[in-house]
Symmetry: C2
């Protein structure tokens, strides 16, 4: 890290001092990607708001005016002022202070009412107390994990403030090299699904896009992306960017901190919460099973303190020559596409992460408009298959459920804790409410409460329909009385009256779904429905492909052979991934059109067939980009 | 570097101690790629020779028996013994001792007579003196550079012995990684000609194949290969392998030492001598022109001490998991193809360097038989053009020279100091001796004497005809009385009687050739003949392509416009590079056939057209390898 102020930083600081001297600036801090201006006359800030915006635009930086500690109001007095200014219907449940960053955290059931129209109340709180209000939603369901995250973040404010300063200094360091290039290296999740990781390298900076684990292997070198090469030195990584919370995209982060990473993790707020939840849950399971955890809760806590959350379409400096912007990816709650603007427009990269280029009940369709795109790195999970359309899929699901229930059978749907689980809950809730399927108990296992709480905490990121149900109607579909939460496998449910069972994990590679499957498989009245991607090597893939008997290794190491007589059904229209048509239509619609398309996150056959398809006229994408299909450890210079 | 003896080394040492204990081993040293066994009973070594060979084969190592210093004969006595045992016709000119390595260097005009039939005399010297005889040829022409090289090497024996030990320890270090991969990174000379450099990377080791400069640019980032990336840390480079002495393959070596490289350089003996000559000559020119040298003679001397010379087809460990073998490349004296055997046969790479897959007067055709080949990295200078055949080319040359001389004109042939210069000298000497061209003075500029001396020092590496002329006849073509050496540009020769002028440099990008061209260009009686490759951006390329006038920037920075009225003629059949037919025929004949073919060392058009050609049926190479055309900073994982 460059300890001397760079000419870049000196230029920024002098511009701000010169432009805003009337506010009596006491100090300027680079707090992560933001520049905080601490002033002794914060009351004037509102008056000078246009000037602040002008300077921000000129510098292309995010400026935040904060009050010098000497002028901030007393905390008790501030609490009183807040309670007076915010209407009671907002239902404030907690108020916390961060002295180091000059922020007051306000937790409320209706955060919109704390913010006020056009931010008016939030601004008034600042002018009257000189504390900067950070407002978060208190979800209708209480979430232990969200509580813990907030508790942790607000108990470590000094550490947090220190690392934000060090991130800020690093981001605004001097540019050193005249030479310009942009190089992309495949570290994991290329010609395969799992352990996603991409290194983006310029002469100045290095950024990791996703750092996942391969959930379908139990150990060995294919579990991790290839971070043990000399090109990746954790000290030199400027930023880790996470596109969504599934373990194959985020599961490696605690390891990075375990092995010495000290930098920032950029992601959306729901992704931060969900990934912490899933990592901590993974530790719980390991503990219960008496296995040593792959990392400890300490590293997850460090991850949380090092995470900087960004909203969609918020442009942020993450390295001296790289700006990051997230866009909705439509895959799961909080999922994002990452746009990197490198140099002064030298090169623009879009990394799609996992994305759904179609509306689902839960989420809006992924974004396809970007300011600039030269290189697109795109997932290709379904490069070969076309999925059934929504109506067909829902009709199939309805029929299969009805047939199974009528014959006295039970329906098992393996779901990921986050993603398809919620989508299927929305559909089944809708169908049962509208009497399209017979009444029957719906059992849901896994982290349902926590995950539902997180969904409820971020309604603005859900589809319009669900958002409105949660915010304005009394019909929050996630808290529907039709769902019965169960804590894990229950023998009497697996063999009991006709029912619908949604159980994790989604690929039958662990979790209560495996126990349910073992008990239910021999009974031909039962049905298993696969609604999501089944990776190579997983039990789910074997069952889906018609194997019988299938071998399962028990916890005590014994091999059990299970005869599969239950009905097996694949309904692919609910996938959170784009199918081939959606991938093609994304390539057709993406604006502007990329010069290079790099395919990743697909099995080798899917990627090679899809690349031939879009290179040929049959693809009809309407232009001819360079299409690359790199393997792990290949590097491509794209600029 | 691993300071503890690796289990690998311990195994080797114990095998040797066990097997050869009767020789009374005093120590075992890893001297570069060789393992030297110092013994107190060297007299028994000859007797045990089969046992030594058996152990060497078992260990796959090069073993050398040396005498413990305590038992070596006195130096004066040794000199007497040598003079008695070697026949006088050998013409010994110098005897030097290396106490550190236990070697006696014998310089002689006829080294074969020092070696004796089947090595008999060399062996007898060892049994009678206990000094290991290293024999080198005293060339018929005295060479200042060869004298200096030997002087230098034998005045720094302690340093040399120390670094050989450190190389040896490093080569035989422990293998650390279970993971296996082989990755090739394009650093320079991909999709272009110039600054050749390839990084070969395994989890254990890193090797650079060639490190050249781009002779057609005068500075800026395109002068050097991309060694300033994190993947290349000079401390981590195990070996630099140089395929031939031209600056675009070897010109960067002194810089490596300037910036901290401390490892070995592997090449052939003639390449070591020629590259040192050319580097030192470059420094002389810079000094004369009052420019600061890009490096100093100090780094060239360090390069010499760090160079380990290998014969063709001599297998050598250069890293714990890499063995190197050179094969004749037919391009210039000492040019080699590099074969890398990685792991226990995990992967085999052939890096062709510049090669000529056809006989020339000077050299034999390049090798195309290898023990194993998985990946071939092949030059593609002439991926588009076919060259005329030898007879046609020689006929053309004869006609052009005769026509020009008849009309009272002068012939200018720009040549590289090493390579085409010698080939053209051989042809013109032959033609004039056989009265195929008119008698006229032949002027030769440049480093002719030195280069000729080096050619004379290594006759065993030249074509059979030339070797025999040098060794057995009194008609050494390089010392023919027809050639008149000149020191640089001479106005009276450029405007004088009809003559043939061979002048450096070969692409008119410096040297006396430029001055001759400027003076001779306006006279339509004169002719310029291009016999070698003209890189993009060089004056030679512009003149060859028919530009007139051409602009030349003088040393004082003034731009001169030269009208080109002289005849311009391209005769491509003398090239040291394979033309398209020869490249294809090499691909057809290479045994075994490679799975991957990576094309380098060609302009983008040449490489892309050649890759399409061999991918199509028209190429007729008879198999379908994966053909890759990487750009600089692309990496390919090949295993």
């Amino acid at each position: 890290m460059n300890k001397l102020a760079s000419s870049n930083r000196i230029r920024i600081i002098s511009t701000i001092y010169e432009g805003l001297k009337e506010l009596e600036i006491s100090r300027i801090e680079f707090e992560g990607p933001e520049i905080a201006i601490y002033v002794k006359k914060p009351a004037m800030a509102q008056e000078k708001i246009d000037l602040v915006r002008k300077i921000a635009k000129e510098l292309k930086k995010r400026l935040v005016i904060k009050a010098d500690p000497s002028v901030r109001k007393d905390k008790d007095e501030t609490k009183e002022i807040i309670k007076n200014e915010v209407p009671q219907e907002a239902q404030i449940s907690d108020i916390k202070f961060d002295d180091d960053l000059g922020e007051v955290l306000i937790k409320a059931k209706k955060p919109g009412l704390v913010i006020g129209k056009g931010g008016s109340i939030q601004q008034r709180i600042f002018s009257d107390t000189f504390w900067r209000a950070v407002i978060i939603r208190e979800p209708p369901i209480r979430s232990r994990i969200l509580d813990n995250i907030m508790e942790h973040l607000y108990s470590e404010t000094e550490y947090r403030s220190d690392i934000l300063h060090s991130f800020g200094e690093r981001i605004h360091r001097e540019l050193l090299f005249k030479d310009r290039y942009v190089r992309i290296t495949a570290l994991g999740g290329f010609m395969e699904v799992g352990r996603s990781a991409v290194l983006v390298e310029t002469p100045e900076s290095k950024v990791l896009l996703d750092v996942g684990l391969n959930p379908s292997v139990n150990g060995g070198e294919k579990l991790f992306p290839k971070l043990d090469i000399d090109q990746v030195d954790l000290e030199d990584i400027d930023a880790v960017v996470i596109t969504h919370a599934h373990m194959d995209h985020s599961g490696m982060i605690p390891y990075l901190f375990k092995y010495g990473y000290e930098g920032p993790v950029y992601t959306t707020s729901p992704t931060r919460d969900i990934m912490a939840l899933m990592q901590l849950d993974g530790l719980d399971i390991a503990e219960k099973e008496g296995r040593p955890g792959p990392y400890s809760a300490k590293e997850v806590r460090k991850e949380l303190l090092h995470t900087i959350t960004l909203d969609y379409e918020e442009v942020t400096d993450i390295a001296p020559d790289i700006r990051l912007t997230f866009y909705n990816a439509g895959h799961i709650l909080g999922s994002a596409m990452a746009h990197l603007h490198i140099g002064d427009g030298t090169h623009n990269i879009v990394y799609s992460g996992d994305f759904k280029y179609a509306r689902t009940r839960l989420l809006d369709r992924a974004n396809s408009d970007f300011p600039k795109v030269d290189t697109l790195i795109m997932e290709t999970t379904y490069g070969v298959q076309e999925q059934s359309n929504r109506e067909e899929s829902e009709a199939q699901l309805m029929n299969v459920i009805n047939n199974t229930l009528s014959r006295g059978g039970r329906v098992l749907i393996p779901v990921l804790a986050v993603g398809r689980g919620q989508e299927i809950m929305l559909i089944i809730n809708y169908m049962m409410k509208n009497k399209m399927i017979q009444q029957a108990p719906i059992y849901v296992t896994g982290l349902v409460d926590e995950v539902t709480a997180i969904h409820n905490a971020y309604p603005e990121m859900l589809s319009r329909e669900v958002r409105e149900e949660i915010l304005y109607k009394d019909e929050n579909p996630f808290t529907s009385e039709l769902f019965k939460r169960i804590d894990g496998f229950k023998e009497d449910i697996a063999t009991g009256e006709p029912s619908i069972i949604l159980a994790t994990s989604g690929m039958l590679n662990g979790g209560p779904a495996v126990e349910f499957f073992k008990t239910m498989a021999p009974d031909p009245k039962n049905t298993i429905i696969f609604v999501s991607y089944q990776a190579q090597g997983t039990l789910g893939r074997k069952v889906r492909d018609g194997q019988s008997p299938v071998s399962i290794i028990n916890r005590d190491g014994r091999v059990e052979n299970i005869e599969v007589r239950m009905e097996r059904k694949v309904i692919d229209g609910f996938s959170g991934h784009s199918d081939r048509n959606q991938l093609v239509s994304f390539l057709r619609n993406i604006n502007p059109r990329p010069r290079n398309v790099i395919l990743n996150h697909g099995e080798a056959e899917s990627i090679s067939r899809f690349s031939s398809f879009i290179r040929s006229d049959r693809g009809r994408i309407g232009y001819r980009p360079n299409v690359y299909t790199p393997s792990i450890l290949d590097s491509l210079r794209v600029a």
